[in-house]
């Protein structure tokens, strides 16, 4: 079975999986785990958008 993901969908999957692991392993309480996981997810996706805009600016 072969799967072809776009760059953006690959980034979302990566961010989701990594954020879950970071949330669970870097915090002690359940509430803090959820908050930190969500924070990591937003930061990952934010980083993707920022990097995308930077590349768009550099290309011009």
């Amino acid at each position: 079975m072969n799967i072809t993901l776009t760059h953006f969908s690959a980034a979302i999957v990566f961010a989701l999986c990594a954020s879950i692991v970071f949330g669970i392993t870097h915090r002690d309480r359940t509430r803090e785990m959820v908050r930190y996981g969500a924070y990591c997810f937003v930061m990952f996706l934010g980083g993707v958008f920022v990097a995308g805009w930077v590349m768009w600016i550099l290309r011009r």
Binding site: F14, C17, A18, V21, F22, T25
Partner: protein, 138 residues
Amino acid sequence: MANLSTQKAKAVPTETVSMMSIVAPAVGWLIPGAGHMIQKRWIRGLLLFLSIVSLFLLGLAMRGRLYKANGGDILDILGFVGDVGAGALYLLTLANDWGQGAIAFATADYGTKFMIVAGLLNFIAVADAYHIAIGKKR
């Protein structure tokens, strides 16, 4: 004076080395999330399992390349270290000769990175299982 040093010694948290502190990381490495599950952290273990296994299998399905033990380029060695963190997934993939990589597909490179990151994330999960086993984390 002697009393003061005794109090200081008592204040230092002791890390108990139990059987669980050896078994949990080993099982956690072999099966992602299992190190948490055998310590009755069911939901955490299940989420870790789903995240790490999904990432590894997606990488494989994207025709990512699996690094084998090598003594060549430093990046190849680091790739092997990352991949081997996936435990049984790595051994199973290696045994079946999957993960050959396909340079004709741009997404295959993403797949290679997915598999490496899955292994590295499992190393973090293993360390977390150890910390739970020694009582450093709840």
